[in-house]
Symmetry: D3
Subunit: 136 residues, 6 copies
């Protein structure tokens, strides 16, 4: 009787897509407007999905308040109102595409959840563009 529990959150951040191994022209060609050297930004919406058995004493898979606190402490405090390229360790040497951000967030959250629980993370960069990891 495995149930998935979902919790949403959001953070606002600046970023720039850039590959330092390429010259400016190639970066401009590949990343277009997203390569702007002065950065642009997004409201990132995050949906975290945790799957496990219902605990018969509480009726919870996990207390969603605990999940909310883990998300706030380890994801939102790290990335909210930040410049992903300049202000974070994670993206100093990793291009902050939606794909790379969602994998980074999954790796962060994975360390703070019981190993019996499965984890999937979805990240909306805009209402029309979003990513999910791991793929289902």
């Amino acid at each position: 009787m495995r149930v998935s529990v979902f919790r949403k959150a959001h953070f606002n951040a600046a970023h720039r897509l850039h590959n330092p191994e390429w010259d400016d022209e190639t970066n401009k060609k590949v990343f277009g407007k997203c390569n702007n050297p002065n950065y642009h930004g997004h409201n990132y919406n995050l949906t975290v999905k945790v799957t496990g058995e219902i605990d018969p004493r509480t009726g919870y898979v996990l207390d969603v308040k605990i999940l909310k606190d883990i998300m706030e402490e380890h994801v939102l405090q790290r990335f909210d109102h930040k410049n992903l390229n300049l202000d974070t360790e994670e993206f100093k040497n990793l291009n902050p595409t939606a794909e790379n951000i969602v994998v980074v967030i999954w790796n962060i959250l994975r360390q703070h959840l019981d190993e019996k629980l499965d984890l999937t993370v979805r990240l909306y960069e805009t209402e029309r563009n979003f990513v999910e990891y791991p793929a289902q």
Copy 2:
């Protein structure tokens, strides 16, 4: 050529989270504001997913009007504008967490659908908190 068909509905209900085997202090500690003895409530949004083969005569997996009627007769009439703890058989002895509610609704709908059809139910307790059964 299996296709999934989704139908949304909603119901408004009061509930209280409580484990009668625990004392008041433990209940308060575990369930927080959700343990309020006078109840609180939610607009529950429900997404039912039914999967099967397309019938070549109709082009339907199933007629979504039939699915809508099943949801209204067996779920909405039972839970809409009700106190889940006091007014329903299902939650007289089962804590009405989102996890337990989604399993109860799945069991109700499962009896009214052709066994060739697969069923998944998602239940939104708020826009930010939701659950799905069975887990995928």
Copy 3:
């Protein structure tokens, strides 16, 4: 150069529509399912609109963090996870229709905002039913 600033919040509450001056049959006829003596509930979504001049030093009409704190302290803490009929002074003797709730919330917020600022409150009882006060 008057600008309106909007801030959203939400609270979850139980309520029952009932006029104690009427007999049960009349209450049932007028309020239908909303008259359930055991209560039902909603996720109430609130949009508060505050209008005033931009302060040239900050570029703000008012700091939206201050508005958020006023809403949390005076509205959400009072009504979130409560039974409006049983747990609040405001609706002990006032029928908690959306219309009456929005006027009550307006009166509460009005006391905590500078009189130079205009105030309008919108309250969503469901996605399809909502109210606004004062009418524009």
Copy 4:
């Protein structure tokens, strides 16, 4: 490290549900209002999901601008502001139910994506009725 990338788009079209092998009475009985001989219409919302490995040079599974262009050239230009029954080859002899439309769109997009990429298409006929292919 497979990630899913999602892109949304929409098109507005007229259609009519009808099985030419049935008489008018049967069509009316099975398809109800959707059988109106003068057509009705929808804003179709489309979510395309593409799954693959992250390219370490770009940080992309695929450039979402390329996916957007494929969707516009091969789906939107074909179906937007069209009568699906009269103006398209695909539905001249195929009943344009949501189920059939989503399979047709999947087949179109499949031809324009690298075979290493997996593809899933979701189609919203209304906010409350939608379909997905292939079923997961």
Copy 5:
């Protein structure tokens, strides 16, 4: 103490924009894809706003169930799953632009509401294009 009450509904319809006093080339130039002779369609979302005094006995400006019934009987039954140009009296000789539709709906609803109540109608043709009458 005037409060506005809002109720949402939707209908799905086909239409075509066309001015019979113009030649085909002018129609095509002015209305573009919306001039398709075989029609296209939309999910029209409707928000009806009714403003008046709160009745102290009910706590209602008007019973939203009554408003819902008026909208269903006089607007949805007339326009839902219809071809606006071919199936309705209102648009036989009136171009069914969003602007004209919203005025037509306002005129229909105005006849069925107490004259003490003010009325505003908003009509969404798509999520990005919508109209309101009367202008505020």
Copy 6:
């Protein structure tokens, strides 16, 4: 018979709130996380409302495609994927609060619309925080 026509668009930008006449401590105290010297960002959603008489020949107040083009040419191309503080003339010496941005956008659009048309602009900085100018 004045009708309002609304059109939505969005742009993604980085910004920082800062008053150069204040020291760092005061800026930090007033603007909090929004004062981050490395910038953060948002998906700005824009709703433009234009009010006027319906032209009886077209049934339009104005052709929404023309409004869309004006918004793209004069607002989106100027601000999309930009750093508002560094990349734009408008905010070189003006703090890019939501209030100031909405007034700037109104002034830009006002120059490109017929003076018979009234104009209101709403700007969403996040789903929960938004502003409107002029106030109504």
